[in-house]
């Protein structure tokens, strides 16, 4: 078992057992944006959570893929209260409750906040919050209204209206304590402007989070979801260990090579100035840009599916390589297979055999590429070399050479004695 799997198991055990001891969880920034209430635009509804506090796991930005709703949670209350609130809220939503009904579940818990929303249903915030509701009225005017409540409150973004809800409070210990009020207002106004200017919701959530992260210090991810296309940042920015903070959203996230798809995350990326594979200039991506890229579906995004191996990192690396290959050569299975094989040869992709063009399934219309890998047996990291000499012959030659070498050393050590013996006999 390699080290990585070992850590994975440890993490798993933590997940299953230690979560019970979280004493306090508080997501202090929750944002939900609806720019297309009809759910037609693939980037029309998005939501995200961030905090200065610890333990910002995916439970602070849940998404239902089937029913298309998001549940953002947080608050200063007890964590088992929060867990109950989330459970009841999701159960209500799965039974078809409206966002306002589901969000008001939070009112029955002390200090808990729930933000619920989705395409076609609007959005609502309930429980304990300090929020602005940005809403486009029927006459096209965009209003920014403050709502505040210590418990049992409810604020609603009407169904069918474009708009946003932003909640922001400063966490305890944040060095930028006291900035929440002004940043909340500024961000709400800026989000309103972006809604007016027609930006997609995914972009607005990302830009909103950027502003909150830089100005108010509530910067640790967290993450975000795109409700229409059902994409989530997953564990991109969430903490890997209990009682630790996630990725700071105000900082750089990765450096990547635009030509071959090689990439490296910070802080290791500080050591790289050019791509070690082909020497081209690396592109630095800020965490908020990475978040926007991750949840935004664009016309040149290729969805890549990987089959045949679940090896850690394989799917991500393949996606980056296929993306780079498609931008360069278009949807050509031969070129994609060539790029992937180059990656396998360079050691970017490990543990799978070389692919052939027939292993690549390309659907240009839906911009989808499927890659079928063949995993290598015996824990090998790279495919067998193709040599003209039989490996059996090589094994024998190698062993004989080693043996002769060792015998020579022995002869040299006992050299004088051997020569003496020989001369004596004469």
């Amino acid at each position: 078992m390699n080290k990585k799997t070992k850590y994975l198991f440890l993490g798993l055990i933590l997940f299953l057992t230690v979560f019970t001891v979280i004493s306090e969880v508080s997501a202090t920034c929750n944002i939900i944006v609806i720019t297309d209430p009809t759910g037609q635009d693939p980037n029309g509804v998005a939501a995200g959570s961030m905090s200065f506090a610890k333990n910002m796991f995916q439970s602070s930005f849940l998404m239902s893929k089937d029913k298309q709703f998001a549940v953002l949670s947080g608050g200063e209350g007890n964590s088992s209260d929060r867990v109950q609130a989330i459970g009841q809220c999701v159960a209500a939503l799965q039974n078809g409750a409206s966002p306002s009904t589901a969000a008001s579940v939070a009112s029955s818990f002390n200090g808990i906040r729930l933000v619920v929303g989705g395409p076609n249903v609007g959005a609502a915030i309930g429980g304990s919050f300090d929020a602005y509701v940005v809403e486009e009225q029927d006459n096209g005017e965009i209003t920014v209204t403050p709502y505040s409540s210590t418990s049992g409150g409810l604020a609603v973004l009407q169904e069918g209206h474009r708009g946003a809800i932003i909640h922001l409070r400063n966490s305890e210990g944040n060095p930028k304590m006291g900035t929440a009020d002004s940043v909340r207002y500024q961000t709400a106004v800026n989000m309103g402007k972006m809604i007016r200017d027609g930006y997609p919701a995914t972009r607005i959530v990302g830009e909103g989070m950027r502003e909150v992260a830089t100005d108010s210090g509530e910067q640790y991810g967290g993450g975000a979801v795109n409700l229409v296309s059902r994409v989530t940042t997953g564990d991109m920015f969430t903490p890997t260990e209990m009682n630790s903070t996630g990725y700071p959203m105000s900082e750089n996230y990765t450096k990547s090579c635009p030509t071959c798809g090689w990439s490296v995350g910070f802080p290791e990326a500080d050591n790289y100035q050019v791509c070690p594979v082909d020497g081209s200039q690396l592109k630095t991506t800020n965490a908020c840009d990475a978040l926007i890229n991750a949840i935004t579906v664009t016309s040149n995004t290729t969805s890549v599916s990987v089959y045949g191996s679940d090896r850690a990192g394989l799917a991500d690396t393949t996606e980056a390589i296929v993306q780079a290959s498609v931008t360069k050569y278009g949807y050509n299975p031969d070129q994609i297979a060539g790029s992937i094989n180059k990656g396998i040869h360079n050691g970017l992709i490990m543990g799978v055999n070389y692919v052939e063009p027939k292993d690549i399934s390309v659907k240009e219309n839906s911009r989808a590429v499927g890659v079928y890998y063949e995993p290598l047996a015996d824990g090998r990291t790279s495919p067998p070399w193709n040599l003209p000499v039989n490996s059996f012959v090589l094994t024998i030659i190698g062993t004989i050479q080693t043996a002769i070498g060792i015998i020579l050393i022995l002869l040299v050590i006992f050299r004088s004695r051997l020569i003496k013996n020989f001369q004596d006999r004469k």
Partner: protein, 162 residues
């Protein structure tokens, strides 16, 4: 020099060193170019169906913990993992139980009510079908011992607060 060494001795030692080095390199090349050993059907991957709020990765990790992970392979009706060899049917039962223990990340909520694991013994593909049900999670008024062990937490935490 403390030890007197004749020059030709040095030459022979160097030659011996080179011979051993080349020998080892050739042996490695032989290993690297040898065709793969046939060791049954390797586990190719896990397909998760039916999950809604619980992320695929969480379920996948739990099923991998039951033995269906990289470098495990199916040999007849046995599953050989890096740790041990066990009957495939037992591994499937374990995987179903483990899948049911999947939580919403960051919480103790285990919304998976039932899981079905099937393994294709020819391709090595593991298919996990789960049923999520949030309404059956015992989040309030749970006083029975059963629910306490189900969540792995003290029942006192789950008393009604409303």
């Amino acid at each position: 020099m403390f030890i007197k060494v004749r020059r030709d001795t040095l030459m022979i030692l160097l030659l011996a060193f080179l011979l051993i080095l080349c020998g080892r390199i050739i042996t490695y090349v032989a290993y690297a170019s040898s065709p793969e050993v046939d060791q049954g059907v390797p586990i190719a991957g896990i397909i998760v169906k039916g999950n809604d709020v619980v992320p695929i990765e969480t379920i996948r990790e739990n099923v991998q913990a039951a033995g269906f992970r990289e470098n495990s392979y199916i040999d007849g009706d046995m599953l050989v993992t890096s740790k041990r060899t066990l009957p495939l049917s037992e591994a499937i039962t374990n995987a179903e139980q483990f899948a049911c223990k999947s939580t919403v990340p960051g919480t103790t909520l285990q919304p998976i009510a039932a899981a079905d694991v099937s393994v294709d013994e020819k391709t090595g593909i593991v298919t996990v079908t789960v049923i999520e049900d949030f309404s059956t999670i015992p989040v309030s008024n749970t006083t029975s011992a059963d629910n306490a062990s189900y969540n792995g937490v003290n029942t006192a935490q789950f008393k009604e607060t409303a």
